[in-house]
Symmetry: C2
Subunit: 335 residues, 2 copies
């Protein structure tokens, strides 16, 4: 069986390009005792992967040049030497950017497409939904009646953050980059207001107008000028979960991430800001999965996916994340 | 009895000047039932007062034009219509920038100059010591063996922060603005290293060299370029109590507080940053006072004071805070 995989050919300076990636073919190795072979069905592309393409130290190891790009996926067991899995089982795991992968069974989790569509295990009830849940509930801690602002609000994480905040009784304002997105937030997801940051000459004033009671929680996925604008409207004791800073990820020089320092504002409002990743909540995943699954089954959570068809389009799908072309979770359906 | 008081004449743009203040005279009003008249002995000048001279919203009300400048002090009861106080009692309270003040007894706390010198109730065992204690212990949470960096390290708060961190078993690095200060930190207070930021061409490299294991706690009193340099060396899960940002307080335009945004660094290290003021810990003051008093009596805490003599020098003493001319707590001895 021939495998196809996408490797990191070179570390990007600025935006990734076609030069960043290489497609390789190699035979799938035979599974050993307790191992299974999985055929990829959906593979995930996520903004955090940009960080791993750089050599800089971060919370996960950088990808290595010439090796397959790591990432989550959902697939089907096609060969098994493990007692826990049989061919046909659907599984979630680090399938990486490849058609087939060989795993020790302990690294995989069985998923049930009767409970939720397979793709949802990568999104609303998977990594991005759980990231939204823990960042908002553990750091943001919204209370009924408070105002929650979410940047990157139409993305896989932001769209879930806003809906969870609504479930908590908060007033929710989303910031996104197109009218299609802001309409989706207010008309489909129940956000109280949404701002298209690309159309606002004075973004800070727009945030002030959308948040007449100020901002109690700011869930940040983008950083940069959007965050500068929100920081002008913090209420006392605001909480700011820092989930992502996508505006800065492709900055090769580091120089464009210059802006107002937030320190005085944080002191004056006695606010809390914390960077986080889902990995910090490994021992609480069942709690998050249970809550998300229940809200989903009760119809309280809606989600959207942007799905590119065809394995070869993985680099394209990944690069489109930085053009903001996705609504909801960005996925590649392998074939 | 004639009183002398210093009022806010105009809101400063940038550094306060003589125009900021006016000296007035007025008779001391007669105490009513339960009131006492206090003669000021030591009055406190603190960087946070700069914030109250601006009209902008913050955690305390702005000072009002034409009214006495509010602040803490230690004095002696000279007339009493309260059963709780008798003439000669030494008291701590909001005596404000004036020779005499009239108080309801409930607003004052008796202090004992046999337990500690009167001036210490404004510093090491008073507001600045307690600020150091709660910011470090509640937000910074240093563990033995960790590296704690303190900016404004020779100031009233910073010098106590570093010593408490040493008591907790941390390695402590101070950043201050003169060789006299850095020598005092390492030779008198037991800091492991100290950096004179005015003499470093590459401050970030100097921090890196002084912190070979990275920075676990950064207690920030100054903000600006000093903070930028420290942020390059955060360890995973660093904690950053934001106590002050003196480098930005006198910036009239707001434009000079532009620098590297910290968001990506906070995410990569999953660090926590929180602005705080002592007022958040009102219900825990006895805990802090007990710990500070005990360490002081055990000889584990040393402190310095810079004392200007003469009530008329209050504005000068206040303005000197921003020149960095004080070591330890800045006070005015009234006469």
């Amino acid at each position: 069986m021939m495998n196809k995989l996408i490797t990191l050919q070179s570390r990007p300076q600025g935006l990734p390009t076609d030069e960043t990636f290489a497609v390789k073919e190699a035979p799938v190795r035979q599974p050993e005792e307790n191992e299974v072979v999985v055929k990829s069905i959906y593979l995930s592309v996520d903004p955090y992967m940009r960080g791993r393409m750089s050599a800089a130290k971060s919370y996960v190891e950088p990808y290595r040049i010439g090796e397959v790009i790591e990432g989550g996926g959902v697939g089907e067991v096609v060969e098994s030497r493990s007692e826990q899995f049989k061919p046909g089982d659907k599984v979630l795991g680090m399938l990486n950017w490849q058609l087939y992968s060989v795993h020790n069974g302990s690294q995989l989790r069985k998923v049930d497409d009767q409970v939720a569509p397979l793709s949802a295990y990568l999104g609303v009830i998977g990594m991005t939904g759980l990231t939204a849940y823990f960042g908002l509930m553990d750091i943001g801690r919204p209370k009924a009646g408070e105002t929650v602002v979410v940047s990157g609000a139409a993305g896989a994480v932001g769209s879930i953050v806003g809906q969870i905040a609504k479930i908590q009784g908060a007033r929710v304002v989303g910031i996104a980059g197109s009218e299609e997105k802001t309409k989706w937030l207010t008309e489909q997801l129940g956000f109280d207001a949404a701002i298209n940051y690309k159309e606002e000459a004075d973004l800070s004033a727009a945030v002030g107008q959308a948040c007449p009671q100020g901002v109690d929680v700011y869930f940040d996925n983008v950083g940069g000028a959007v965050t500068d604008a929100v920081m002008n409207h913090l209420n006392d004791y605001a909480r700011i979960p820092l989930c992502g800073s996508i505006s800065a990820y492709n900055d090769a020089s580091g120089k464009s991430d210059i802006g107002p320092r937030p320190y005085v504002k944080l002191i004056k409002t006695r606010s809390l800001m914390k960077g986080f990743v889902l990995g910090e909540y490994m021992d609480r995943l069942p709690e998050g999965a249970k809550a998300l699954g229940q809200w989903l089954s009760e119809g309280k959570l809606r989600y959207e996916e942007t799905i590119f068809e065809g394995f070869d389009r993985m680099p394209e799908a990944f690069m489109e994340l930085f053009n903001g072309s996705n609504i909801g979770k960005m996925l590649v359906k392998v074939d």
